[in-house]
């Protein structure tokens, strides 16, 4: 009992804690996944947004180039004469070089029949293969504003050559903004989709170079080769700069500081990075997004530090668990202390009763001694005195048994029950007890019917047996007075492990209910109120009796009534191991 309570309390604490911890961890993990997912989506959309910005940039360039090409065509009456084209190249900051191919695939610019400057020579050298296959620029083209138009990537000839329209959603979107911005050129706009055009991305000079081509109304192909350094510079300018690392950061609060985004070129080099997070080079990007044509093979990489939100989530869970554990523990501690206090008080009571019993024992012994002496000395002709003395003697005996019970009980609690074997006859012990009880029981109009068949000489503890019988009989006296008879049967039987003695005590009182029968042997338990009303008792007798019987390697049980239903009452069967020879100590 003493050890069970803390264990029970521990279970009460840990079970809810474990449950809560389990749910908390699961919830937290789920939450993290959700957050990570959301973050991923956010990052993706952010990167895609950048890609769209780039696409828009290309689309605006495309618009501009088409207008400029149309203007060139008009100015030179479709001849693309050298002077104006060179002037155009000189003035345009975004393009490096231009070329014009006639409908038959001949090169019109850079001119074949005129001296070329260094840049033009280099360019011709670089694009020799590209320009030799003019069919590249006549591939079927999808209308960039058509509903069904999808971004098309047509691979022609070598793998590194790609030509495609910009994805139509972007094209459509920026068309409006471009038109709104350049109203003066609205007359040129309606003809835009009519002419085939596209972007080519190709590798030259150890880098990706972009060419925009457009076919004019006469079948000439006009190509604009971008200045790649300038293109990168423009792209960088589309991207935000980093926050200034000082206290006055609120000025730049739109720039987030917990991430680092890198624009990586086709050679895998970082072309530009922004954000505020400084990170070690070994870290892997949280996400990468390849850019759309014509910047294919470039990509954006998003780096971020570990999520601080997740840590606070775990922290919250841990704090909650700790708080709960503390609460439950203190509650359990209070309960445990209360329980202990009660136990201590009970113990103090028992000790007190014990001591009182001890104190009572000596005077009682004297009372009994002198009563006996007086009985012997008293002449027989004084019946009244004899009778009074008899009552004194039996009451003193009862008190003595009570005290003996209390002392045995407390001794049993303290140091366990011990049994001392002596040789004797069971029946003679029973007869002594019966003789002792006869006057008491007859005062309650009860008579004992003793049928003794345990006559064999054997080893047993007569004091224990006496005490057991005393308890059983005094119960009969207290509770079964209306039954008129108490039957005691004793017999002996040879069992595999030696001789056993059996004693059955049966009364014909009101009996006990089934529920009471279960608890009858528990200390301090007394049967139903109806039964115990007006009857004194300590509630330790039966328990003590059973303990003694068990110490005697036997048992005391309440027998189920198999006798006729008319008769009520209780029947106890006492079993004792009573070996025939030699004292066996346990």
């Amino acid at each position: 009992m003493k050890r069970r309570t803390p264990v029970l309390l521990a279970v009460i604490i840990t079970l809810p804690l474990l449950l809560l911890a389990w749910f908390g961890v699961r919830l937290q993990l789920d939450q993290q996944q959700v957050v990570a997912h959301q973050l991923n989506n956010l990052v993706t959309s952010r990167l895609q947004n950048i890609d769209e910005q780039f696409q828009e940039h290309f689309f605006l360039l495309q618009q501009r180039f088409i207008r400029q090409a149309e203007a060139l065509q008009q100015d030179t009456a479709g001849q693309y004469s050298v002077g104006p084209v060179r002037r155009f190249i000189d003035q345009s900051a975004v393009i490096k070089q231009m070329f014009v191919l006639s409908a038959t695939g001949e090169r019109r610019f850079p001119p074949i029949d005129q001296p070329l400057n260094q840049q033009e020579q280099d360019f011709v050298e670089l694009t020799r293969k590209l320009l030799r296959e003019p069919e590249r620029f006549t591939m079927p083209v999808l209308d960039p504003v058509g509903q069904t138009a999808a971004p098309s990537e047509v691979k022609v000839g070598r793998d590194e050559l790609q030509s495609a329209q910009l994805s139509d959603s972007v094209a459509q979107k920026s068309r409006y903004s471009a038109d709104a911005a350049v109203q003066t050129l609205a007359n040129a706009a309606p003809r835009l989709p009519d002419q085939p055009h596209g972007w080519i991305a190709w590798y030259a000079e150890a880098g990706l170079q972009q060419i925009f081509w457009w076919q004019d109304s006469e079948g000439n192909t006009v190509g604009f080769a971008l200045n790649s350094a300038r293109l990168l510079s423009d792209l960088i300018n589309l991207l935000p700069s980093s926050a200034v690392a000082n206290a006055e950061a609120p000025l730049f609060s739109d720039v987030d500081t917990d991430s680092d985004i890198q624009l990586v070129n086709d050679r895998g080099e970082v072309a530009y990075r922004w954000g505020g997070q400084s990170l070690d080079s070994a870290q892997k990007p949280l996400q990468t997004l390849p850019l759309s044509h014509p910047l294919a093979s470039w990509h954006l990489a998003y780096y971020a530090a570990e999520l601080p939100a997740a840590i606070t989530g775990w922290l919250g869970l841990i704090v909650l668990l700790v708080l709960l554990a503390a609460g439950l523990s203190s509650l359990a501690y209070l309960l445990y202390r209360e329980h202990n206090r009660e136990l201590r008080i009970a113990e103090q009571r028992v000790n007190f009763v014990n001591q009182v019993s001890h104190e009572l024992k000596t005077p009682l012994t004297n009372v009994r001694l002198y009563t006996e002496m007086l009985e012997q000395e008293l002449p027989d002709d004084e019946p009244v005195a004899q009778r009074y003395l008899g009552v004194i003697s039996s009451e003193a005996g009862r008190l003595s048994r009570l005290i003996e019970n209390v002392l045995s009980f407390s001794r049993a609690k303290r140091e366990g029950v011990s049994v001392r074997y002596h040789q004797g006859v069971i029946d003679s012990v029973i007869e002594q007890v019966v003789a002792l009880f006869t006057p008491v029981l007859s005062a309650r109009h009860l008579s004992i019917r003793f049928n003794g068949q345990a006559t064999q000489l054997c080893q047993f503890d007569s004091e224990a047996l006496e005490q057991i019988l005393n308890n059983l009989l005094s119960n009969c006296e207290k509770y079964a007075a209306e039954g008129r008879f108490v039957d005691i049967n004793s017999w002996q039987a040879e069992q595999p492990d030696g001789l056993c003695s059996y004693i059955r005590v049966t009364d014909f009182g009101p009996g006990v209910s089934v529920e009471d029968a279960q608890k009858l042997f528990e200390p301090f338990y007394r049967g139903s109120d109806k039964l115990t009303e007006g009857v004194s008792g300590t509630g330790i007798g039966l328990g003590l009796a059973r303990d003694l019987a068990r110490a005697h390697r036997g048992d005391l049980v309440l027998e189920p009534r198999t006798t006729t239903p008319l008769t009520e009452g209780v029947s106890f069967l006492l079993t004792l191991a009573t070996p025939v020879n030699g004292p066996e100590n346990n």
Binding site: D90, Q91, S92, A93, V94, K96, Q114, P115, L116, N117, Q118, Q119, N227, S228, A229, R230, L232, S233, D234, I236, N237, S241, S242, A243, V244, A245, N246, E248, E269, V270, A271, Y272, R273, W274, G275, S278
Partner: protein, 448 residues
Amino acid sequence: MKTQSDKPMLRRTVRTIGFVLLSLLPGLSQANQVNLNINLATPVMEADQRHRAFIKVSLEGFKQQDQQARIPANVAIVLDKSGSMGGDKIQYAREAAIMAIKRLDERDIVSVVSYDSRVQVVVPATQVRDQQSIYHAIRDVHASGNTALFAGVSKGAHELRKFLSRNKVNRVILLSDGLANVGPQSASELGELGASLAKEGISVTTIGLGLGYNEDLMTRLAGFSDGNHAFVENAADLASVFQYEFGDVLSVVAQGVNIEIHCKNGVTPIRLLGRESEIMGNRVTTRLNQLYSEQEKFVILEVEVPKQAAETELELVSVKVAYDNLFTQHQEQLTGQSMARFSGSAQEVEAARDDKALEAAVEQVANEYSRDAIEARDSGDLAGAKKILQDSASYLGSQAESLSSPRLQEQQEEALQDADELETNQDWNKQRKELKARQYKRATQQTY
């Protein structure tokens, strides 16, 4: 200047000026006109002989009337704040930038961009009104990280574009002390960017600090956009360099100068000394981004002249110059030509020599030698490089004597010293930076 060839030229100039005067608003003084001078180093050549001749085409900015009437500036200062700039360097750089900005006033636009691995816009393009807050922002720049030079220049140019105008002096001033290691890092890529910016009227001045930067990249970037370039070994000198630079910026009188030279009568162009140029057939074009008040900028064209009979006159080249006059805010044109006379008399040839033009030509030729020497040294040919420098020195020496020019003598000593230092082979890195900066300065007639 009393040579015979001066006469037609003078005529020509006077005619041009008259034409321009007519075309301009009445009352505008001649002082607001860029001066074009075309000088043939050898106006009289020996007959019946092929010649190599140097033609000096020089432009001189007119005098700025007064400080109040100057052209507004639109300047982006791009500061390297990479880890190597730590300590004194960044401190000097900050103070130099602040000192320089002090020269600006409300008419001007300034922006400050700093870069390490990333780019920060320290001061977005703004009118120079609340100077204290600009200084405050600059003083908050601290050094750390890598060198994203390309992105820094890009963002600087981006800030300029917010107020980009042909009527302003648009300039990025880049300070760097290290190799670009984030983003594009080759000289050619930066050169391409510079060329593109030049087309928009933006020039980039590059200031290399210490011994860690890439001088090829820096001179290329400056060269393609016609900005200045300076090598500053000691950070303490930054302030004065910034002052010179801002002095230049604030004295610009003309921009977007296109020079087109046509060779005539069988004369063929060989090379244009000093500047990036385009030679196509008999046409040579080059451009200068800026002309400064009372400063002469010139190019030297080397041509080959075919044999001619004695006592003939020949027009060698005609020159067309177009530029934006910032003062009148008009585009203006100048034209000129160069005539040569052929004579059998060596004395006449000797007497007619234009010493000043020849001196300039020799200076540029020697400068080319010096470039060749760097190339030779780069390819590991120490002896070859030294030989080139020594040849250059002896060439300079003989010319200095015949022209009795102390300037060329000085350059000769420089070349000899360079050759010696090349020999010691110590600290080539520093010498190379010095050489590069000096060459650049000579080629572009930079004032500091």
